[in-house]
Amino acid sequence: MTLWRLIGKEILHRKGNFALSVVGVTVAVGSLVATVAVLKLHDLRTGQIIARKTAETEAVVRQRKNDADRRAAELKEAYRKIMLQFGYNLAILPADEPVVPYGVQGVPTKTMDESAVKTLSGSGIMTVQHLLPILRSRQVVIHDDQRLEVFLVGTRGEIPIAHRDVKKPLLASVGTGEIILGADVAAELGVDRGETVRLIDRQFKVAKVYDRRGSGDDVTAWIDLATAQAMLGRKGRINAILALSCLCTGAQLDNITKDIVRILPGTRVHVETTNAIIRYEARVRAAEEARSQVLQAARDGREDIERAKAARAELKGQIEAVTAWLAPLVLVVAAIWTGLLALGNVRDRRVEIGVLRALGLRSGQVLVVFLARAAGVGVIGALLGYLAGSLAAGAWRGDPPAGETFSPLMLAVVVVAAPLLSVLAGWAPATLASRQDPAEVLREE
């Protein structure tokens, strides 16, 4: 016969009292475990929501970025095509050159020193390229008995810009004694490469005939600049420096113009605006819009995620606020409940305790009998409470599954803490039992 057997048989004998005590601990532990599990599930659910929203945002951003990249690629291709079609879009002219004669493909009347192109190429300017000094006039080209008035452009070829990599020139240089003809000029004169034409008082060999460009180039002839200067009596002088700027617009062009005028005082910049530029500008705007949409989608996604986080945090705060007063209340009620039941057990066993004391049981052994019973209540209540709390939390939240709420640490904590609390709650009744005077009980009986 052992105390443990005595305790076990007493529990079986007074199942109701023991079961009610276990229910008290189970409810308390279950409530706490369920609360913690709900909070954990809440965090898991929050993680899922944020992950889903993040994935959705990333998908939208990726889609829009793909759109933007596609448009950028289209723009790059368009740029390339426009460049081929457009040629030079800037003309740097003497400041006193009237706009109109030049603007309608007329003949410039003013000149400037050829050294200006050297100054510009060595200036470090970043916004222009393909510098081409020209001397331009209207002249008649003769082939056999065909005469045709054309724009004559004397050029020495593009001037490399000192700080840039050498680019393939838009216009090839022309050798001395050679002439390059635009497509319409060659067609009108019926001349082809290798033949000769006469210009003013000199014969020139046709070095090249350009394909049709759909621009003023088709009615233009190019010869070497020095020859042109000599033939036109304008030695060391040029009318303009043609250049290609970025396909920029508005304020950017204003800045380019200011840069050039700062480098070359006494000049002004004429910007050729064409339908190509307008189309290009529209595409630039579309590309910028696409890029903007990417950024906006990312911003919207981030804001959506932040809103979801805030809402979830607020909900969690509300749960925690309820828990803050509910948890202690449940613990106190459970402690009172188990304490009262333990007291009832002591009262029920008053004579039994007296007899056992008369048979020689020490008060410490009586204390052990009741505290061990309380610990048993705590252990069983902890296990049942943990199970009930986890299942309840899982059933309430539904998704994610309840299995994700299993925490060995939490289980360990309740299996240790619940018996301790149960023992504390049963301490006073157990002490009462151990200090009971057996003589008083037996005398009364």
Binding site: M1, K9, V351, E352, V355, G360, R362, L442, R443
Partner: protein, 224 residues
């Protein structure tokens, strides 16, 4: 075995003090069976509890096997009860949820011994309880319950057996059986102190005394 010297015990009640024992002196030696008779309220139960190291007297001393019971600590006194004293009560006071064997073995909770199981079996056989080992007190007759209580009192081979109205709830046959058992215990060298209000219950005693208003006023035979 048991020596009580000038023991006095007074209870404080709402209507004043009541003297339960007044300068009681007696002794029960080995092999003696002393019956103390007295009417209800004469102090018999107080005398028995005091003799059993359960109720400290206000005055006097109680020696069990030469040891002053109330000079001992509570735990040592509990050890004394477990090892030297057996109790038999009128109400039996068996533990309801333990079976016969376990009730008989209950004293071994306080004083475990390897031979307790065999001793319990021996006592069950001696008191005709062999077929009742797994029965709970609720399943026993009144006589069987008192025999279980007797067996429980004898488990640890005490030197002193204290019996409080052990036949009070029994029929004549069972009452005689209990008294015979007490006499046999004394014959075997034990000391028995029986308190009862029934003159017939004292017939088996070697000596008798009477307790009236807390005083031991009469004795048949010589008190030490």
């Amino acid at each position: 075995m048991l020596e009580i010297h000038n023991v006095g015990k007074t209870y404080q009640r709402s209507d004043g003090k009541v003297a339960a024992l007044r300068e009681v002196t007696l002794s029960v030696g080995a092999g003696e069976f002393l019956a103390v008779r007295g009417p209800s309220g004469s102090g018999k139960s107080t005398l028995l509890l005091t003799a059993g190291a359960l109720l400290a007297p206000d005055t006097g001393s109680v020696l069990v096997d030469g040891a002053d019971a109330y000079a001992l600590s509570l735990d040592r006194r509990a050890e004394m009860r477990a090892g030297k004293i057996g109790f038999v009560f009128q109400q039996f006071h068996l533990v309801a949820y333990l079976n016969v064997r376990e009730n008989i073995l209950a004293p071994s909770l306080a004083a475990p011994s390897e031979g307790a199981g065999a001793r319990a079996a021996e006592l069950m056989e001696r008191f005709g309880l062999g077929g009742r080992a797994d029965h709970t007190p609720g399943e026993l007759s009144v006589g069987e319950r008192q025999r279980v209580a007797l067996a429980r009192a004898m488990l640890n081979r005490p030197t002193l057996l204290l019996a409080d109205e052990p036949t009070g709830n029994l029929d004549e046959v069972n009452g005689r059986l209990v008294l015979d058992a007490l006499a046999e215990f004394a014959d075997a060298g034990g000391a028995v102190l029986l308190v009862t209000h029934d003159p017939g219950a004292a017939e088996k005693a070697h000596r008798t005394a009477e307790l009236i208003d807390g005083r031991l006023v009469e004795e048949a035979g010589a008190l030490a």
